[in-house]
Symmetry: C2
Subunit: 209 residues, 2 copies
């Protein structure tokens, strides 16, 4: 894929193929698609990226992506401000928001502690979280990080930092996913889900609207 | 995927997911990747698209994408100007160029005749091809279109248009792909490849450098 007759085309294809998961062939397909669009539509596309990059802010409270100093979730009056859910990044916020089950606030760490990748506690927003707990009236912190070594390390670090406060710490429930079959579950998940069994309720899953 | 905390982010994700084969999740991943880049890198990305869309031209001779009035292939002195390969679009030019086996010129039709999609001969650059044959000194035209009903129709239409000229018409060879196993080939391809068998030469595949 190197014999383009046009330098402009070459440049655009090269730029697209820098994106994660986009190879040269896909890149060419996307660029040719944009070429077929009206000129103002292509400009809309390009402007949306430049505007985003230029004007985006991170909420000063929870570090979620926001158009303002304080994000819509933090400034909402419908939210339970005594509850903070700690997540790794923005995508987790979106995932949890889409469940429609959570009405507290968030705290976006910006990653998890991972010495292998050179990410220590100071690269994350953990200090700001501790400050929030000290200043605001927080009852409970839900740790919603990945179930990996790094996630566990981060959970442990945060729990140590908060041990002198009265805040309640919890983690999201781990277990067999709804709709999954037992025989295909890995042993660790299955083992944990037996240890952490919950009292049976009729219609317990249907009641989660 | 609808609860974005930022309108700017929402707009960028929406724009990306208009691209073919890019869903909302991939779109978000790409946009977050661009957000992590330096501001000038993101601008380079956006500019490459706007520049391409604004300044791109189509070669006046062969209708290939080009930065100039006449493309590099048409203006090259190393090319055999008596040979034209007729292709559907730019991607075919790139594919053939990458083989390193072809030293003639091209003619990009911009599609193939397809009544189902409302594409007739006048939507393509067939007239310009006939004009080239009449004006330039062309020996042979290679038809390199898809082996579909539409491709065959287009081949037939072009051959009828050129029947009063002295130009030699050929199509690219169809047969079993190199490296393919016979048992998995479809019957039509296998049947044709027996009918159009070629004389055996020692090292015939190795000699195609």
């Amino acid at each position: 894929m190197e014999n383009f007759s046009s330098k402009l085309l070459q440049t655009a294809v090269d730029e697209f193929s820098k994106l994660p998961g986009i190879g040269k062939k896909t890149s060419l397909r996307l660029v040719l698609h944009l070429l077929k669009q009206e000129e103002d539509e292509t400009e809309c596309f390009a402007n949306s990226i430049v505007n985003l990059r230029k004007h985006i802010q991170y909420c000063k409270k929870c570090f979620n992506i926001s158009d303002h100093e304080i994000c819509d979730i933090c400034s909402s009056k419908k939210r339970d401000t005594s509850l903070i859910c700690v997540v790794e990044d923005l995508r987790d916020v979106i995932a949890i928001e889409n469940t429609g089950q959570y009405y507290g606030l968030y705290h976006v760490l910006g990653g998890i502690i991972s010495p292998m990748d050179g990410i220590g506690p100071n690269d994350l927003t953990i200090e700001a979280l501790i400050e929030r707990v000290n200043k605001e009236d927080i009852n409970e912190i839900i740790l919603a990080l990945s179930t990996t070594m790094e996630g566990d390390t981060t959970n442990f670090y945060i729990s140590r930092k908060l041990q002198d406060t009265n805040v309640k710490l919890s983690t999201i429930a781990r277990g067999i996913a709804i709709g999954d079959e037992l025989e295909y579950a890995d042993e660790i998940t299955l083992g944990r889900s037996i240890l952490n069994r919950t009292p049976y309720q009729i219609n317990m899953f249907n009641s989660q609207k």
